[in-house]
């Protein structure tokens, strides 16, 4: 399976092109395991902005976000914990980035244990490989942005508070002053709505 990446949304930081630009994520991961550093550079060009953007959104510090980006890609190189059969690389990277960014956030703000549980849960459950891999990056971005507009403001708000701020549902309930059950309902329904909207991409 060949995947032609159109990385305009998360544009390559290195404009160099070579044969690996058209390799699938799985092929590049295989190359990394064979010790080909060029493959890591290629994956960085593909996902560096995504990882950095997420890290920056959570940590709100460019320096820390850059350090974490470096950490994530070195992790990919050194640790062979990513299994292409169990999920897409982009999900693995965003999940790991989120988990580590929130760990850093928590060590900064000593937030609750709930957050730790969730962030670990997010890492332990690597999603399966799907045709989602086939979508070009910019198409994914558009699809997700579009899908988010289908949520109610409240659904989007609670999902984003949980995802980017690492807040537990009860913390969110306190913050926006609504019952815990309502927050749970909003976030679950929001996620299910996203699932329905993105069903063509993720099956």
């Amino acid at each position: 399976m060949k995947l032609v990446m159109n990385a305009q949304v998360h544009a390559p930081t290195n404009p160099q092109t070579h044969a690996q630009d058209v390799a699938t994520d799985a092929e590049l991961v295989k190359a990394i395991r064979a010790g080909e550093s060029l493959a890591l550079g290629n994956l960085y060009d593909r996902y560096g902005n995504l990882v950095y953007g997420l890290a920056l959104r959570i940590l709100t510090s460019a320096t820390e976000a850059e350090d974490l980006t470096q950490e994530i890609f070195l992790n990919l190189w050194h640790n062979q914990t990513y299994n292409p059969d169990r999920g897409s690389l982009s999900s693995y990277l965003t999940t790991l980035t989120r988990s580590r960014a929130i760990d850093k956030l928590r060590s900064r703000t000593t937030q609750g244990k709930f957050l730790q549980r969730w962030s670990q849960a997010m890492v332990t459950a690597t999603p399966p490989a799907t045709p989602f891999d086939l979508a070009a990056l910019n198409q994914r971005a558009e699809e997700v942005q579009q899908a988010l507009t289908k949520l109610t403001d409240k659904q989007r708000q609670v999902l984003e508070m949980a995802y980017y701020q690492g807040l537990s549902q009860s913390e969110i309930a306190k913050k926006i002053d609504v019952p815990l059950g309502t927050v749970k309902s909003w976030s679950r329904q929001g996620l299910l709505q996203l699932r329905k909207t993105l069903k063509d991409l993720i099956t």
Partner: protein
């Protein structure tokens, strides 16, 4: 157990992906998944959906240095031998079941010594690779300290700079130090040592004693070792005379109320 309603099942799966299942819900889901293992795929898909959220973020790019650092770290043998503890080796504590238990990874090393050395090397490498932020912070702190000392040296090079010595009132305490003042400069530098650290709510207060009147200058606190190195704003026409330091509360009172701990030699 009866077949669950699709809505309830969807809620459970979404709750699992979000990590907000109650213990009762987690038990329900565990039971359902035991009976319908095919539903695990749906749970995973919901997690994949959640993991797409960052795609909606505005596009931002890290500096080019990040890419260079990553590739440079690969060329470093110490870093290249690094094997971090896999993040996903931790057991999932969200629920009592672990349907997505990751495959265990084992190092293919037989000798415990090799393993030990590998562990040490990995620790060092991780420290090198991952602690750059802390190192950068230390560099910034040191730079700040050097800059402070540079400005002090510059002050001391001024021909009209005065050093006002301060000594502790209590002979058993060896508190001592100086205030460096350059006429015309808007700041003075306070350097003291061996002053007792104060509890919260208290601070040392510097006074200038002019004709028996005490004019408050600035409050300051010392570090845990009893030292202070601070720049003090020196208002124009501030009456520089004999100086005294007392222990006061914050905000400072108009006249000294606490014990005097230091006094200048003038």
């Amino acid at each position: 157990m009866t077949v669950p309603l699709p809505e309830y099942l969807e809620e459970l799966l979404a709750g699992y992906a979000l990590g907000d299942l109650s213990p009762e819900e987690a038990e329900d889901l565990q039971q359902i998944l035991l009976e319908h293992p095919e539903l695990e795929a749906e749970a995973q898909i919901l997690q994949e959906v959640l993991a797409t959220l960052p795609y909606a973020l505005p596009v931002v790019q890290p500096s080019f240095q990040v890419r260079q650092n990553i590739l440079a770290a690969l060329d470093n043998p110490a870093v290249a031998s690094c094997r971090e503890n896999p993040v996903d080796s931790q057991e999932n504590p969200t629920t009592k079941f672990n349907i997505f238990k990751p495959k265990q990874k084992w190092l293919r090393i037989s000798s415990p010594w090799v393993k030990l050395i590998g562990g040490i090397a990995a620790g060092i490498a991780v420290a090198i690779a991952l602690d750059s932020y802390r190192i950068r912070q230390q560099v910034v702190a040191m730079q700040r300290q050097i800059n402070g000392q540079k400005s002090l040296i510059a002050m001391l090079q001024q021909p009209n700079t005065r050093l006002v010595s301060l000594k502790g009132m209590d002979p058993t305490v060896t508190a001592s130090g100086n205030i460096v003042v350059t006429p015309g400069e808007a700041q003075a530098v306070l350097i003291l040592q061996n002053l007792a650290p104060l509890p919260d709510g208290q601070a040392y207060q510097l006074w200038s004693i002019v004709n028996g009147q005490r004019v408050p200058w600035e409050q300051f606190r010392v570090d845990q070792r009893g030292n202070v190195f601070a720049k003090l704003d020196l208002p124009e026409n501030f009456p520089m005379s004999r100086l005294a330091i007392t222990v006061e509360v914050f905000p400072p009172p108009p006249t000294p109320t606490g014990p005097m701990v230091m006094i200048s030699d003038l």
